[in-house]
Symmetry: C2
Subunit: 369 residues, 2 copies
């Protein structure tokens, strides 16, 4: 059986994720295992939760890493909050709005959708009108749309959602650790993210936080959570004081997440946000110089992920292939509505460095010359 040793090329991961993991995170992953109920592991769990609260900017007690990739924390957010009888309004301006819809209907919600073209964001007024029309008691929205590069302002929408006694679920997969999410300040009820974006941690343990309103909804469910693996009513007993076994925690992925969060605490959240913003602006300027145009209005443009329009006459898949094969640079193609129309360039976490911008721009110059 042909099963060669792993020997991967040194990729510069500038796509929509995974981003490059910090070497210190990789080193942490190689730490020998200890048991998931070992007092030393319980201490790492406690500290991981503390650091997650710091990065989410929250005091929420129920703040944990979900034992799976970002999609698992998304499903954990939905399956614990949604049950039959709920009406969920989803603000959809990209691929991940549709994923929310897919999940919410599986868990029995009556789902209503409002739409914006991919790359645009929602105004508070249209969200309010839709809540009134649908009587939604749950609203889902994406803070950082990985498929479009748009950053959705949330403050006013959160106020409106709560004025109508609804809960706000926010997708922060491509924002957490790269720009402020501000769970407590914005007053987000449920927020989830992934490791493989701005936290620079391999996918496998994914941040999730619920505030008191959300925990109350969970506690007052009429039906059991339909999903066993992601059921917070039992998982919380492992992450809480009881330490009751639910499933074996993904030990190495927790090590990695913990080290990634430590790196953020060392850098400081504000410094990290500023680094992401500065390097993104540096990229945007460099793209403009070679006559590339960004897809999203600068006011709503994510620092972590840039969508850039593909100039006419370019075979976009071929250019991406050359970038990967000849320059070891990965950028992402467009997804859904934007397929073939944009590239997605990530500058997330450890990848967000000026030298990577230089590497990409000069490779593009060579290829397109």
């Amino acid at each position: 059986m042909k099963a060669p040793e792993i020997n991967v090329s040194p990729r510069i991961l500038m796509g929509p994720g995974p981003s490059m993991a910090d070497p210190r995170v990789l080193k942490a992953m190689a730490t020998p295992l200890i048991g998931h109920l070992d007092p030393e592991f319980l201490a790492i769990m406690d500290n991981t939760q503390k650091l997650l609260r710091y990065v989410f900017e929250t005091k929420n007690q129920m703040t944990i890493p979900v034992s799976g990739t970002g999609s698992a924390s998304m499903e954990a957010a939905i399956c614990n909050i949604v049950e039959p009888g709920d009406v969920m309004l989803i603000c959809c301006n990209g691929y991940f709005g549709y994923r929310m819809q897919d999940m919410a209907q599986r868990y029995g919600a009556e789902v209503h959708m409002i739409f914006r073209p991919w790359g645009e964001v929602f105004e508070p007024e249209e969200v309010e009108a839709a809540i009134k029309e649908t009587s939604a008691n749950i609203v889902g929205i994406v803070h950082a749309e990985t498929s479009t590069g748009a950053r959705q302002p949330l403050e006013d929408i959160a106020k409106i959602v709560h004025e109508h006694d609804a809960l706000l679920i926010v997708d922060a997969v491509t924002s957490l650790g790269g720009l402020s999410v501000g769970v407590d300040k914005v007053d987000i009820d449920v927020c989830y993210s992934g490791g493989q974006k701005c936290l620079s941690v391999p996918p496998g343990a994914s941040p999730l936080t619920l505030n008191d309103r959300a925990v109350e909804k969970l506690s007052n469910r009429k039906t059991q959570v339909a999903n066993w693996y992601l059921d917070l009513t039992t998982i919380q007993k492992y992450w809480g004081n009881e330490r009751t076994y639910h499933h074996t925690a993904p030990i190495s992925s927790i090590y990695a997440l913990y080290e990634g969060l430590r790196l953020i605490a060392e850098e400081g959240l504000e410094n990290r946000w500023q680094r992401h913003q500065e390097n993104a602006e540096y990229l945007w300027d460099a793209l403009a110089e070679i006559d590339f145009e960004c897809h999203v209005d600068e006011k709503y443009r994510l620092p972590s992920l840039t969508t850039v329009k593909i100039p006419a006459g370019i075979d976009e898949a071929s250019v991406r292939k050359q970038l990967l094969n000849d320059y070891n640079i990965e950028v992402g193609g467009g997804l859904g509505e934007l397929k073939g129309q944009v590239w997605r360039i990530g500058l997330m976490g450890y990848t967000s460095r000026k030298e990577n911008v230089h590497a990409l721009i000069s490779a593009l110059k060579n290829i397109l010359a």
Copy 2:
């Protein structure tokens, strides 16, 4: 914020899992990330599937690692096969039979249970009688009960299940890679496992295989799979020829699993089974010498996990604490019915070595002296 560097004690993991990861597996985990659609990663995926088929002893096309711990592959087995209208018979002789029950009822099955005392196994006749009585079209059974240390013979039961046109789902979490599971030879329809037992891989990517009968049941479902993250109808498009994005694969966990499987291929499955059996017998003899008695009849005793009765007058929790704190040895306490009555001693994968048996026995002698 107090967030010290990870600095864990060098534990000898002789509990029910996680077992110790092979150093080569830990090294593989530290490999830099590449994209989940990178051709180099797709090649690793293909080879991982080939090696999984080797270890499962199957030709099943649909053989993949589930993106989560062993409980996630268990739930993937159940949620893809079970739908409302199904009648599932669960043969329960330990903790994980109850977990199957919990999951199966969440996915809408009419669940029937038959029981055996913890540590015993089922006879084919009683399974057949229960199938007739319940008209079950799905039967769930545990090959290697992590809570009891019992090994359930499966050949005759599989024949009976198929004579009644039912499907057999088998939990091989604590057997795969440590003793023969023989998916094709036994004719198991759905089989799942975890990395953290006899594969000596950190929990995070968990083996699952479905034969043609099971795939047909999946294809002919009347209802959508209720779980998004574990939905094989869409996941198979990523692991199959289409390579359609579903969720970001847990890259590092796949690296680890791949390396763990390579180690098994190098050692050879038969050699590995023999090593597990020999070291288990070595442990049983050593335990007998210090007057400890095994809980399970030798005929049905797992080589990977031994339950040993706690002699009268011993404070079992205190002894386990001393083993951990003074000797860096982790053994497991009893679960459920066996709580306080047995210890669970794992000799799985990389942990299955004579020197670990010596370390444990002589530590026990010191503590109990």
